[in-house]
């Protein structure tokens, strides 16, 4: 009854991320962090732009963490869909709150 991971059907196979790939992901995340800090510290006179860029870069970092570290890339697509649904729920609530506030 013992079957190795290799002869399982394709969707049952486990993807093992290499150490090298994890390291590359970290380098990407560190680079993005450096960019955010540099923009915010040296772009102080572009205030509104720096907030927007900081949030944009943060979102890119979150996507990288979720996709590679949290394994969404290799997991069943249902997880990605669930994450998207929760993200849409949150963003729409945030946007509706700001519209409500702006129309006061």
């Amino acid at each position: 009854m013992s079957h190795t991971k290799d002869n399982l059907p394709k969707e049952e196979q486990v993807h093992i991320t290499s150490y090298k790939d994890h390291f590359s992901t970290l380098i990407a995340l560190l680079l993005l962090t450096v960019i955010t800090v540099v923009i915010s510290v040296f772009g102080a006179n572009l205030r509104s732009l720096s907030v927007f860029t900081a949030l944009l870069i943060a979102t890119v970092k979150v996507i990288v963490v979720a996709y590679y570290f949290m394994h969404l890339k290799y997991d069943k697509k249902i997880y990605t869909w669930l994450v998207l649904i929760v993200a849409i729920l949150f963003v729409s609530f945030a946007v509706l709150t700001s519209i409500e506030y702006l129309n006061r």
């Binding site: 720096s50 900081a54 949030l55 963490v65 394994h71 994450v83 700001s98």
Partner: protein
């Protein structure tokens, strides 16, 4: 059990379901995301009401310490992800070493946080102190949200540390191994969530120059 059955089902004893465990963990993470999400919306509304005060108050925070802690958390996210690779390839020793590294980084994060908080508290910027009570309303709101949100986040770091310790213990006992590593994976997912929240907290509190 009083009586044992005369026959056993083909899969008796197989009460593990890695996929269901992972799904359960993700569903829990969604509730966490919405908990912090609500706080981010509170932050957003109060900040749009008091843009200047939030900006002034944010200058009190130490960007260098915040950046250092961001790097610490990102590295710890990598080490816990690598500990999963290690256990999947059957290298329990390496997995334990990487989990200890993650735990160490969690402690470094908390120590830095301790120094940051004590500096603010020393300056009386904590709710209940005279300096805090006499701040313009917008600035006290900033510090209130700063302490509440980073405090809740630090609590998650502590809980994450406890979970990682449990994984280390169970890996040492051989209960987590090459065939059964769902616990390591779920601890990893939780730890990454803690990292994700910090990725937003950091620019919103430290970098709004």
């Amino acid at each position: 059990m009083e009586h044992t059955s005369a026959f056993s089902l083909p899969n008796s004893g197989h009460n593990r379901d890695a996929e269901a465990s992972k799904m359960g963990m993700w569903l829990f993470l969604f509730t966490e995301l919405l908990l912090f999400g609500g706080l981010f919306i509170v932050y957003m509304v109060y900040r749009s009401l008091n843009p200047e005060s939030f900006l002034l108050a944010s200058f009190e925070l130490d960007v260098a310490m915040g950046t250092f802690n961001t790097v610490v958390l990102l590295v710890s996210s990598m080490t816990i992800a690598m500990s999963i690779t290690a256990i999947q390839t059957g290298n329990a020793k390496k997995s334990i070493f990487l989990l200890y590294t993650t735990l160490g980084l969690a402690i470094v994060f908390l120590i830095v946080k301790y120094f940051e908080w004590s500096a603010k508290i020393h300056h009386g910027l904590f709710p209940g102190f005279e300096v805090y009570d006499n701040l313009p309303p917008g600035e006290s709101l900033f510090f209130f949200l700063y302490f509440f949100m980073t405090g809740l986040h630090a609590l998650h770091i502590i809980i994450g540390g406890i979970i990682i310790s449990v994984v280390i213990y169970r890996t040492k006992k051989g209960l987590v191994n090459k065939e059964k590593y769902t616990l390591t994976e779920n601890a990893g997912l939780y730890w990454h969530l803690v990292d994700l929240i910090w990725i937003y907290l950091f620019p919103l509190f430290y970098l709004i120059h």
